[in-house]
């Protein structure tokens, strides 16, 4: 059976065996998922990499659907990503039955805590396999695990493996394919008696009111409802009586001072702890400092920690700015070369213009930044894969708690340096809904990779070269300042939001620090490839489309040149004719004469051409848009061309580059340097003043740091907050900030005479 026939044949899809992977965060679920399905979902060494349910297919005679879930410490969900895991396993999602098999991925070096979740999963009454992952790490830590005994006690198969080394996967595949797996045995642990006596009656009511809940799942549903309000709310619609009974049971327990909230933890651990003690033998002392601890002694040190973190960030920006240059130059010259080849091999005309001025220069000017984006992802991948990302959250927690957030917001904010969309999604790991909302609201202030092209272009064109302390280039430092400004503003914004909008309790921070691991370069490499593919496709889709539209807007309506410009041409023509005639009169052949004079008058004609093209652009649609906006943007130092560029960049930031490229190449006759930054430098107002001074460039840069110019960010914020209110607030405050800051910078700079 081929893959495509499975996709098309609905009956077979319905019968497809579904296997869910669940486990604590960072135990290697996605690593296992990737090996089973051959996919390349994101893997990283910090808790909370996966925040969405992902499905894939394990090929074989009978294909099987594999579901990767966000990591979860227990089935009592606190954050959104944990909720997803429970919903999938319990069948609470509409149109999605419970999986046919659950594979619990367990970190072998941390059995007790990991098995807590396993005992919860066992109570769902589904077939279960326990995959003991990270056996390599457990052995290194001196742990010996009696697998046979563990399997006997749990009553389900237990398979040892090391997913990242591809060990033990074959056996897992075999077990997953088995069709004779039975459901997990019933629990052999008990709750404290005062709580236990309440259970049967509640199970009874639930069974009557909601018969669709499978018999074996009732117990855990009751237990969840007893301790969690969100779980209880779910039954509002389905089982109102059950809900009332649970509330009464809670009151009874409360009045008898029964700590029922802790009953589950006490009960499960009461059974687990002795079991683990029996199964695991330690050859080393637990408290002995590991290699990771020694590294941490330095990297999370009170003084060196933050210092090192700052250095790392500085290094990244410096590298992104300078190491990428050779490759960027190469791409730049290929783009120019391509344009020239197209011009040479196609007849001159509208279509060729569109191709060269619109498409090649629009897309090319953005693709140039690919090397920088690759480098940025390389460094972020390195941080994620080694385990340093989790430390950065820890180091930054102190500072973050001052601005009203917790260390948990660090990873979402750092991911936003790549792109605000994964950053906003990563906020799902935050258990506190206020923290989550604030993080979502400020994440787009972190400079994403789409701003990088804009920063690079303007910094390279208008800020001085040279080095500070002979080490760091001035331009690298300028780049760093852009990132710093965005970050500081994000902190200020969250402080304000916390103080004014979400008054309330301080946030909480407790996080697991995974052991440092050697980065897996193959994995980082593939992530870089995947991300750059996404970037190029984006450039292909949005920017390609926008380039064509922009070119059209710049080229139409076709306008007759003004009388003044017409006069320039006719007087040039008159001079040309006179000079040709006078040469002809002394016996030079006509063709030769006109060629000679043509060459002599080339620069004059070029000026005439430029005047005509400039007039065309100014009176085109885009010119009109720019001119309409100019009065508003003038105080920030922006002329009509920049204004038009900013308008077009509201869909996506990089578009400003295509827009400027289009405006300048339509208005240009192809003689000067084809590099956009050279054209920008050469542009002047009619009175001869340059359009771009360093002050204008800084004002523009700051505008791009702060403004929210990204449709996709708004869309994702809408999805994650379930309303248009927050995205609207986000857009307004960020754009307002951008305008205000650019205004202050430009006007202040002018007043100080820096214009």
């Amino acid at each position: 059976m081929s893959k495509s026939s499975v996709h098309t044949n609905l009956k077979q899809v319905a019968k497809l065996k579904r296997v869910a992977l669940i486990g604590n965060p960072n135990v290697g679920k996605t690593t296992v998922f990737n090996v089973l399905t051959g996919m390349r979902q994101k893997v990283g060494n910090y808790p909370g990499v996966t925040v969405e349910k992902k499905t894939g297919r394990m090929d074989g005679e009978v294909p099987i659907e594999i579901i990767d879930l966000p990591g979860s410490y227990s089935l009592s969900p606190k954050s959104l990503d944990e909720r997803i895991a429970y919903d999938v396993l319990s069948g609470h999602l509409a149109n999605e039955p419970r999986p046919d098999l659950v594979v619990c991925i367990v970190d072998a070096s941390n059995l007790e805590r990991n098995l807590y979740l396993v005992t919860q999963v066992l109570d769902l009454g589904l077939p279960v396999i326990v995959a003991l992952n990270m056996m390599d790490a457990a052995e290194a830590a001196g742990l010996v695990i009696d697998l046979k005994l563990l399997s006997e006690k749990l009553g389900v198969p237990v398979l040892p493996m090391s997913a990242s080394k591809n060990e033990g996967i074959g056996k897992l595949k075999y077990q997953i394919r088995r069709t004779d797996l039975t459901v997990a045995p019933e629990r052999s642990w008990t709750l404290m008696p005062a709580v236990e006596v309440e259970i049967p009656a509640l199970i009874q009511i639930l069974a009557e009111e909601a018969p669709k809940v499978p018999e074996r799942q009732r117990f855990i549903e009751v237990l969840q409802c007893l301790t969690s309000d969100t779980m209880l709310d779910y039954w509002n619609k389905w089982a109102p009586n059950f809900q009332k009974e649970v509330q009464q049971a809670r009151l009874r327990l409360l009045s008898n001072k029964v700590p029922y909230q802790q009953a589950e933890v006490i009960g499960r651990y009461g059974w687990l702890s002795p079991l683990v003690a029996q199964v695991v033998t330690r050859k080393k002392n637990v408290g002995d400092a590991s290699v990771s601890d020694k590294i941490d002694a330095v990297l999370t040190h009170r003084v060196f920690g933050p210092l090192f973190f700052g250095l790392i960030l500085l290094l990244i920006f410096q590298a992104v700015f300078s190491w990428a240059t050779p490759l960027m130059d190469l791409i730049e010259s290929s783009v120019i070369g391509l344009g020239a080849i197209i011009r040479a091999s196609f007849p001159a005309g509208m279509a060729t213009d569109l191709l060269v001025d619109g498409v090649v220069s629009g897309v090319g000017n953005v693709v140039v930044f690919l090397p920088q984006i690759l480098l940025l992802f390389f460094f972020l991948g390195l941080m994620e894969d080694t385990g340093y990302m989790a430390r950065s959250a820890f180091i930054m927690d102190r500072l973050m708690s001052r601005v009203g957030l917790g260390g948990g917001s660090v990873v979402p904010l750092l991911s936003s340096f790549a792109c605000a969309i994964p950053g906003i999604m990563a906020a799902r790991t935050l258990a506190n809904p206020k923290d989550r909302l604030i993080t979502i609201m400020v994440a787009p202030l972190m400079s994403c990779s789409a701003r990088l092209p804009v920063y690079t272009l303007f910094i390279a064109a208008f800020l001085p070269t040279g080095k500070v302390l002979g080490l760091i280039t001035f331009q690298g430092l300028a780049m760093f300042s852009m990132y710093l400004l965005g970050t500081v503003m994000a902190f200020v914004a969250s402080m304000v939001l916390k103080r004014i909008v979400f008054k309330g309790e301080s946030s909480f921070f407790a996080m697991e620090l995974p052991p440092y691991r050697m980065p897996r370069f193959k994995q980082i490499f593939w992530r870089m490839i995947d991300r750059s593919k996404a970037f190029v496709i984006r450039a292909g889709k949005i920017i390609f489309g926008m380039s064509i539209i922009l070119w059209g807007l710049a080229r139409f309506p076709v306008t007759e040149p003004s009388a003044e410009i017409a006069l320039l041409r006719s007087s040039a023509d008159t001079v040309f004719e006179q000079r040709v005639d006078s040469l002809a009169s002394i016996g030079v052949p006509y063709a030769e004469a006109s060629e000679q004079i043509g060459a002599e008058m080339a620069s004059r004609y070029r000026r005439v051409d430029a005047a005509e093209a400039g007039f065309q652009i100014e009176h085109s649609f885009i010119g009109k848009i720019g001119h309409t906006l100019e009065p508003v943007m003038r105080p920030l130092g922006f002329d009509w061309k920049i204004s038009a560029g900013i308008v077009s960049a509201f869909a996506a930031r990089e578009v400003i580059i295509s827009a400027l490229a289009t405006i300048y190449s339509v208005g240009d006759v192809g003689e000067d340097s084809p590099l956009l930054r050279e054209k920008l430098k050469a542009d002047t107002y009619p009175n001869g003043d340059p359009v771009y001074t360093p002050l204008v460039a800084v004002s523009l840069l700051v505008f791009f740091v702060l403004a929210l110019q990204c449709m996709s960010t708004l869309a994702i914020a809408k999805r994650e907050t379930n309303s248009w209110k927050w995205p609207a607030v986000m857009w307004l405050y960020m754009t307002g900030l951008a305008y205000l800051f650019s205004l202050i910078i430009y006007q202040g700079g002018m007043a100080l005479g820096w214009g």
Binding site: K78, S109, A141, D293, D296, R302, R398, F508, A510, M511
Partner: protein, 80 residues
Amino acid sequence: MSPIHVPQPLTSFSTGVLVQLAFFALGDPEAQRLRELGVIEGNQIHILKNGDSFVCCVESSRIALRREVAMNVFGTPVVL
């Protein structure tokens, strides 16, 4: 005569000490989160770092806590 230990906040122990956890003076959701991370009443933990931030060792995992959280977790030292 062995001293009778009154539970103390985790931040009062020095690094390297083995502590038996007694109780949490935290809200329910916070206490629950700690328990899920393996920081459970009755369990023993090693103090790895105790300064402006706090790290402890439970089994072979390292748990980082904000100092204000560690201040509200109480335990007694285990004498080996």
